[in-house]
């Protein structure tokens, strides 16, 4: 199915861009007139995925983070968060709750949060090449009612 609208944004893996990333995706999804909760779900999942690029993908340097978001006719939103960092060797293990290589202040719950706040989560990765996290979310189509009220 062809997407109705799409956008792509690229920025360096600085932690100050975590809030920027959330805002960009939220502004883009706003056109579907999502419920507050749906929007926070998306903001939270995007925050986790982008933080992983910043913390894990590029642990010792600043690299490029790319987000592609697409909207499909039925209210389906597909968001891809991509890095060209170190990659994940064992994806299954990485996605287990509480598994982390991030030390003291990480808690190994990023993927669990992404999973529970979206309708679909997919991770592909290649050691030394980078990682793509795909988040899918269905926005309830209450657009017309909202506009008319």
């Amino acid at each position: 199915m062809k997407s109705v609208n799409g956008m792509k944004v690229t920025f360096p893996s600085r932690s100050s861009n975590e809030s920027f990333a959330r805002s960009v995706v939220a502004s883009f999804v706003a056109q579907l007139d999502p419920a507050v909760d749906e929007l926070v779900d998306i903001r939270t999942a995007v925050s986790e995925a982008v933080t992983n690029c910043i913390v894990h993908a590029y642990p010792d340097n600043i690299g490029e983070v790319t987000i592609v978001a697409r909207i499909y006719p039925t209210g389906r939103v597909v968001i891809k968060v991509r890095d060209k960092g170190i990659g994940i060797e064992n994806i299954e293990q990485a996605m287990e709750p509480l598994f982390t290589t991030g030390g003291e202040e990480r808690y190994g719950l990023g993927f669990s949060v992404m999973d529970s706040f979206t309708d679909k989560l997919k991770v592909t990765s290649k050691k030394g090449k980078g990682t793509v996290v795909t988040l899918e979310k269905y926005i309830t189509m209450r657009q017309r009612q909202a506009k008319q009220s």
Binding site: S15, S19, V40, S47, T51, I54, E105, R106, Y107
Partner: protein
Amino acid sequence: MSVRIESSNEGMTAFLMGEIDHHTARQIREAIDTAVEKSKPKNLYLDFSEVSFMDSSGIGLIMGRFKLMQHYSGKLTVTGASERITKIISLAGLKRLGIFNNAQ
């Protein structure tokens, strides 16, 4: 600053404000730890009532302060967590720790 720290007889309260993510958690953490290490309070309260957004970095923030207070034989209590923040905290199984004022 995204945290305001106040002390009283009952202990120390850190009022967290705004969005908690990996970026802001660092500053909040440093401010709280500096204050705790200085006055070693019996009780540390983390007040989430003015937090508008939190991702899993907030879990690390809570757990780290839990361990710090254990180290000083003190007690950590989380207050004012919204439904949304409670949901993230539940994911982490942190409710078992008995540190939630509104979850006991």
